[in-house]
Symmetry: C2
Subunit: 205 residues, 2 copies
C-alpha cells in the first residue's frame, strides 16, 4: 500500500521534475531546494517538505543529486508503469497532444488516434496512426487500451463517450467543455481548462 | 473583500456551470443537487455545500432554478469582468485554444495570436488575427493586454517568456512543459497537463 499523496503535491513534484530535466540538459549535478523554490516562487520550506515525502530524495552535503532526485520523483509518481491511451478526435487539440514529446517520459504512451474525417484517416502524426473511429472497438480489444483522451468538438462529446464506454473504455481524460454522463465503473477525468483559468484569475477580480 | 473560495471548489463550480448550460440547451428549468452529483459521481452533500457558498443559489421548492443558479456561479467566479489575453504560438495547441468557443462565455477574451512563421502571419482564426511576434510589444501597450497564453514549442519557452515580460506581460498562462524563470512581479500559471494526468492516474499504479 502506498501513502496517498495530495493532488497539489503531485502537481508540484511534476514541476520539480521539469526543473530537474532542465538541470540535466545543462549538465548540472546538484540542485538546492532554494533554487527550486525561487523558480516556482514558492517557499523553500514547502519544497523541502515535499521532497521529504520521497523515499530517497538523493540529498547530499552540497544539495540534492539531480539524477537521483529525478528518479525518486519518477518512482513515487509511478512514471515507471507505462499507461497506454488513444486520442479520439484528430483536430488541433488532438494533434497537439499527439505531438507532445514529453508524454512518454511521464509514462503515458499514446498509441493511436481516431477520427471520422476521411482526409485524416491513414495519416501519421509523431509515428502514431490516425484510424477510422469505426475501427476503435476492435483495436481496443486487441491492444488492451482502456484510457481514451477525448478531444472531439463539444457537440459530439456525449455521443462519443457512449461509443467509447460500449467499446470497453474505462477511463476518459476529457478535454471537451462538456460534463459526460457515463455508466458506473467508468471514470471521467475532467481537464477543465476553463476551471483552471478561473482558479488562476480568481484573485484578479 | 471577497471570501476566498478554494481551488477545488472553483473547479467543481465550473463543472456545475457546464451542466447548467446543457440543461438550458435542453430547455430544463429546474435541477436538483442530486442530478448534478450523479453526473459528476460526487456526493450530493458536497454539491449542496458548494452551492450554499453562492450568494443566491436560486433554490426553490422544486430544486434550483437553472438560469439563476448559472448567473450566481458566474458572479461568484467573476465571469462578468472580461479578461483580455493573447496567444503566443499559433501551432496546433494555440489554434485549438483560439477556436475554443466557450472561453468568451467564461470571461476570457482572446484578442490575437502571435507567431514567427511567415506562412501563418496575417491569417485569421475564429476572427482573431495572427500577427508577427515582432509586433507584440507595440500591440500590448496599445491594447492594454497583460495576460499571455504561451503555447510555443518547449525549446523556445524560456526565451519567449523573457521577451513577453520585457514587453510588459504580467501573467503567463504556461501550456509548455517548461518551468519558466520570470522577474518578480510576473505571475506564471502552469497548466501542467502532465501533472494532471499523474494526479488522475496516481491510484491506478
Amino acid at each position: 500500500m502506498k501513502k496517498r499523496i495530495s493532488d497539489k503535491i503531485i502537481n508540484r513534484l511534476t514541476l520539480y521534475h521539469c526543473i530537474l530535466n532542465d538541470y540535466i540538459d545543462k549538465g548540472e549535478e546538484h540542485i538546492s531546494s532554494g533554487q527550486i523554490a525561487q523558480l516556482l516562487k514558492v517557499d523553500d520550506s514547502q519544497v523541502r517538505k515535499d521532497l521529504n515525502l520521497l523515499n530517497n530524495s538523493g540529498k547530499s552535503r552540497v544539495g540534492y543529486i539531480v539524477k537521483e532526485l529525478k528518479k525518486s520523483i519518477e518512482s513515487t509518481l509511478g512514471f515507471a508503469k507505462t499507461k497506454k491511451a488513444y486520442i479520439v478526435g484528430a483536430g488541433n487539440l488532438g494533434l497537439a497532444l499527439a505531438k507532445y514529446r514529453d508524454f512518454s517520459n511521464y509514462g503515458l504512451n499514446i498509441v493511436a488516434l481516431f477520427d471520422v474525417d476521411e482526409s485524416k484517416i491513414g495519416k501519421e502524426v509523431n509515428n502514431k496512426k490516425i484510424y477510422d473511429i469505426k475501427e476503435l472497438p476492435a483495436y481496443v480489444w486487441k491492444e488492451f487500451v482502456d484510457i481514451a483522451i477525448l478531444t472531439v468538438p463539444a457537440q459530439y462529446a456525449q455521443s462519443c463517450a457512449e461509443f467509447l464506454t460500449k467499446a470497453g473504455t474505462k477511463y476518459i481524460w476529457n478535454f471537451t467543455p462538456k460534463v459526460l454522463k457515463v455508466p458506473d465503473g467508468v471514470q471521467v477525468w475532467n481537464e477543465n481548462i476553463m476551471g483552471n483559468f478561473l482558479q488562476f484569475t480568481y484573485d484578479l477580480n
